[in-house]
C-alpha cells in the first residue's frame, strides 16, 4: 500500500506506531483520514497523538502485543466477521491457526494486556466491519523478542478479513530510521543480495558471482547485534571479528547495552567510521572517513511504501569529503577489487539488471513519475510499478496462497522485579531525530529541547518518588545508568517509564537489554526492567550534566565550550 492511500482507508489499526513523533508527514495523512471519517484503533501503552484522536485506544501493558492480536483474531472468528471466501481462495494453514487462537479469549488477553475484554471486542469488530482497513505497525511491534510473531499475527488479521490485494488496505511497516527500506532493498542484510535474493540460494549466488567476478560465501553474514559477541566472546578464532567498518550508523548510541558495545569497539583491532558528523562511535574509531550529507550528494532513497525516489545534490561539498559510493569504490580498488564507476546511475543500472523486481526502475522513469514502487519489472515507461502488493490476493508464495501462522504469546525476557520495579521502553520524541548526529547540531531544535532529555513518568510514580517536573533523576538497570530530566505526564500508566534513545547524556541505551528476536535479530528495546532514583543535590546534577555534554562536544570537535542551554 502507498502512504497517500492511508487517507482513504475506512479503518486504520495503528499498532505500536507513534506517527506524530516519528513521521509527522505520515501523521498528516492519519489526521486527514480522520477528518474524512476514517475509524482509528490505536494500540499503544502510551497516549500518543494518534491514540488521542482514535476511536478506540487499546492502552495495553508493554510486552503483551501477541496476546492482544490473537484475541482480536479470536473475536473476529467467533463473531463470524471473517471473510471466509478470501480465506478459502487465497490462504492456507487457517485450521492450525484456529487451534492456536482458540484459548485467546478477550478475557484471557485482558488479564495480560490490562485492556478491558469489552474494548478488545469492540476493536476487533470495528477492524473487521470497516473495509478497506489498513494496519500500520512500527517499532512498538518490531523491537520485541516476539517481533516477527506479532507481524505475522497482524498479517493474520488482514488475511482473515480479506484486507489484502487492494488500495488502502493490507499491512505496512513504517520503518524506524531513514532509508531502512532502501538499505534492505540494496541487500545490506546478512542473508540477502540486492532485491531480496537469498545468499543461500545457489542460483542467485552464481548470478552475482558471475556478475562481480568473485567467489561469494554461501553462509548468512553476521547481524550488527551479534558483533559485540563475535568480538568479545567468540571462541573460534576463524569466527572472531577484528575489523569493523561502520558507515551511516552510530552503534555506540543506538544499540542496546552500550557498555558492552563500547567494550567491543575498544577491543576490536581496527574500526572505521564513515559518517557526515562526528558521533559517539567516532570516539572509538581508528579512522574517520567524512562523507557527504544528504544535500551534498545524489542517489536513490526508497520510501517505506517501496517507492524509489531520486535525491539530488543541492550544495557543493566543502572540505576533503566524498560521497559514500566514491569512498567505497576507492577502498575496494585499494583492496584489490577495482571499482571505477563514473556516477551513481552506472551503479544503479548494474544493480537493477541483477534484480528482476527492480529492473524497470530506471533513473529516467523515477525522475518522470517522481516515485516508482517496486516490483517494476519492465523497462518500458508503461510499467509504472506496483502501488500495492498481492493484487487480487495473488501472493508471492509458490502456490500464490498466503500462509496463516499462529503462535503463543510469551512475556518479554526481563520483567520488572524487586530491584528494578519499573519497565522501560524506548520511544520517539518529535523535535530531534534518530541519534541526534544531525539534529543535535541544529540550533533552533537544540533550543527547543536539549540534553539530557526527558524520562516520561506517570504523576503517581513521581509522587511516590517525590520528584518534580524538570528535576534531574537517575535511571538504572542491570546494564548501567544514566541521568535524565523528569517529565510527569498523564499519557503514561504507573509502573512504566519511557525514554528517547537520541540523548547523549540521558542515553537510555545504557539500560536496554540486548535480547534479540530469534529471526529478525532486533533487540528487545521496548521492554526491560529499570529503577528511577531521586538525586538529592540538584546543583551538582545540573553542573555534572553540563560538564559531560561539554566534554562530549569537545571530544567530537563541535564548538568546544558552548555547552547546552537546558
Amino acid at each position: 500500500m502507498g502512504i497517500p492511500e492511508i487517507e482513504d482507508a475506512k479503518c486504520l489499526l495503528c499498532f505500536g506506531y507513534n506517527g506524530a513523533d516519528s513521521h509527522p508527514i505520515v501523521a498528516r495523512r492519519i489526521v486527514r483520514g480522520r477528518q474524512k471519517g476514517m475509524k482509528i484503533i490505536c494500540a499503544d501503552p502510551r497516549v500518543t497523538e494518534t491514540a488521542r484522536i482514535s476511536d478506540i485506544h487499546l492502552q495495553l501493558k508493554g510486552g503483551s502485543n501477541l496476546a492482544l492480536v490473537n484475541a482480536m483474531a479470536n473475536v473476529i472468528w467467533k463473531e463470524g466477521l471473517a471473510d471466509e471466501k478470501f480465506i478459502q481462495e487465497h490462504t492456507k494453514g487457517f485450521d492450525e491457526f484456529l487451534k492456536v487462537i482458540e484459548n485467546y479469549t478477550p478475557e484471557y488477553a485482558a488479564e495480560i494486556s490490562q485492556v478491558p475484554a469489552e474494548t478488545i471486542r469492540q476493536a476487533a469488530r470495528m477492524y473487521a466491519t470497516n473495509k478497506p482497513a489498513m494496519i500500520l505497525y512500527g517499532m512498538g511491534v518490531c523491537q520485541f523478542s516476539q517481533a516477527v510473531d506479532v507481524v505475522k499475527g497482524l498479517a493474520n488479521l488482514a488475511l482473515m478479513t480479506g484486507n489484502f490485494g487492494g488500495p488502502s488496505m493490507g499491512i505496512g511497516p513504517v520503518r524506524g530510521q531513514n532509508n531502512v527500506q532502501g538499505a534492505c532493498d540494496m541487500g545490506a542484510l546478512p542473508n540477502s543480495y540486492p532485491g531480496y535474493q537469498s545468499v543461500t540460494d545457489p542460483a542467485s549466488r552464481e548470478k552475482f558471482e558471475k556478475a562481480w567476478g568473485v567467489p561469494l560465501p554461501d553462509k548468512v553474514g553476521c547481524p550488527i547485534t551479534h558483533v559485540p559477541y563475535r568480538i568479545l566472546q567468540e571462541k573460534e578464532e576463524r569466527k572472531r571479528i577484528h575489523a569493523y567498518y561502520i558507515f551511516g550508523e552510530d552503534p555506540a548510541q543506538s544499540d542496546p547495552d552500550l557498555a558492552e558495545v563500547r567494550e567491543a569497539l575498544d577491543k576490536c583491532d581496527f574500526v572505521i567510521m564513515q559518517d557526515i558528523y562526528m558521533n559517539k562511535t567516532g570516539l572509538h574509531a581508528d579512522v574517520i572517513l567524512p562523507a557527504t550529507a544528504w544535500g551534498e550528494n545524489e542517489g536513490v532513497y526508497t520510501c517505506a511504501d517501496r517507492g524509489f525516489q531520486r535525491v539530488r545534490k543541492v550544495v557543493e561539498p566543502e572540505g576533503d569529503l566524498k560521497p559514500d559510493w566514491q569512498i567505497i569504490a576507492e577502498i575496494s580498488t585499494a583492496m584489490g577489487y577495482p571499482m571505477n564507476y563514473k556516477n551513481t546511475e552506472e551503479i544503479w543500472n548494474e544493480l537493477i539488471d541483477l534484480c528482476p523486481s527492480f529492473t524497470g526502475a530506471t533513473y529516467e522513469k523515477i525522475e518522470k513519475y517522481g516515485s516508482v514502487q517496486w516490483p517494476c519489472r519492465d523497462k518500458s515507461m508503461e510499467d509504472k510499478g506496483t502501488p500495492y502488493l498481492h493484487k487480487d490476493g495473488i501472493f508471492a508464495t509458490k502456490d500464490h496462497k498466503a500462509l496463516f501462522y499462529g503462535t503463543d504469546w510469551h512475556p518479554p525476557l526481563e520483567m520488572e522485579n524487586e530491584e528494578y520495579p519499573m519497565s522501560l521502553s524506548t520511544v520517539r520524541e518529535v523535535g530531534h531525530y534518530s541519534v541526534r548526529t544531525m539534529t543535535g547540531n541544529c540550533r533552533t531544535l537544540r533550543n527547543l529541547e536539549d540534553e539530557p532529555g526527558w524520562v516520561q513518568i506517570s504523576p503517581q510514580d513521581c509522587q511516590k518518588l517525590k520528584i518534580q517536573k524538570g528535576e534531574l533523576v537517575k535511571v538504572l538497570s542491570k546494564r548501567g545508568y544514566c541521568i535524565s530530566r523528569c517529565l510527569p505526564t498523564e499519557r503514561v500508566k504507573p509502573g512504566a517509564v519511557y525514554m528517547t534513545y537520541q540523548w547523549w547524556i540521558g542515553s537510555c541505551n545504557e539500560l536496554t537489554i540486548a535480547h534479540l528476536d530469534p529471526i529478525s535479530n532486533t533487540p528487545e528495546y521496548k521492554y526491560c526492567a529499570c529503577r528511577v532514583e531521586k538525586i538529592q543535590d540538584q546543583e551538582w546534577a545540573e553542573r555534572h550534566v553540563k560538564e559531560m555534554y561539554n566534554d562530549i562536544r569537545t571530544q567530537m570537535g563541535i564548538q568546544p565550550g558552548k555547552g547546552a542551554r537546558s
Binding site: 489526521v31 477528518q35 533552533t444
Partner: protein, 187 residues
C-alpha cells in the same frame, strides 16, 4: 475588533513546528548565521500536551484586555487589530502575567541586556500576530496539518451568523417540521 490565532486539538499532532516558526520569523533569517548565544529562543505560543489533547495556546487579543488594565507602566496597547507590548517600557512586574486567564504571557530575557546587579533583564512576551511579517502569522503558515487558523473579525461575525442560521433552521425544520423558510408566512 482584534484578530487572533486559534488551535484545533483534533488536527494538532504536537510537533511544535509553530513554536520554531514563531522564533525564526521574529528573530529573522540571520538566526542561523549568528552566534547561538546571541539570540534568545522565546516562542510567543506554547504547546500544551495533556492526556486528552495537544494544542498550542497563545494570546487571544481580547477586546478589553485584562493585561492592559493590570500593566503598571502602560506598556500594553491596542493597535492594528491586535494587543501589543512595548518591551522597552515594560519593567517585568508580571502583573499582566497574573491578570491573563490563559497564561498567554511569559517573561523572557532580552539578549545581552543586563540589569545593574548583573541579572538578566526580563520583559513580557506574547503573541503579536506577526506584526509586520509578510503573509501574516508564521505559525499558521508552517503548521503541517493546518491546525492553526487566523480568525478575523469578519470570520467571527459570519461564524456567529452561520451558527444562528443553523440553529434557527434546524429548530424550524426538524423541531416544527416546516418545509421551508417562509419569513413569518404562516402559523
Amino acid at each position: 475588533m482584534n484578530y487572533f490565532v486559534k488551535g484545533n486539538p483534533d488536527l494538532c499532532i504536537g510537533c511544535r513546528t509553530c513554536m520554531i516558526g514563531c522564533v525564526v520569523v521574529h528573530e529573522g533569517k540571520h538566526i542561523f548565521e549568528i552566534d547561538p548565544d546571541s539570540y534568545t529562543f522565546h516562542p510567543k505560543l506554547h504547546m500544551v500536551k495533556t492526556a486528552r489533547l495537544s494544542v498550542p495556546v497563545q494570546c487571544k487579543h481580547c477586546e478589553n484586555p485584562a493585561c492592559m488594565a493590570a500593566c503598571g507602566v502602560n506598556a500594553i496597547y491596542q493597535e492594528d487589530h491586535r494587543v501589543l507590548i512595548h518591551t522597552e517600557t515594560c519593567i517585568g512586574c508580571k502583573a499582566c502575567m497574573d491578570a491573563c486567564p490563559f497564561g498567554a504571557i511569559d517573561m523572557v530575557t532580552v539578549a545581552g541586556v543586563r540589569q545593574k546587579d548583573g541579572s538578566e533583564k526580563k520583559v513580557a512576551n506574547k503573541c503579536d500576530l506577526c506584526q509586520g511579517v509578510a503573509g501574516g502569522p508564521a505559525c499558521v503558515r508552517v503548521c503541517p496539518t493546518q491546525a492553526l487558523t487566523l480568525v478575523t473579525e469578519e470570520e467571527l461575525e459570519d461564524l456567529a451568523k452561520r451558527k444562528r442560521m443553523e440553529s434557527a433552521r434546524s429548530t424550524f425544520c426538524e423541531v416544527y417540521h416546516c418545509d421551508e423558510f417562509s419569513y413569518g408566512g404562516r402559523e
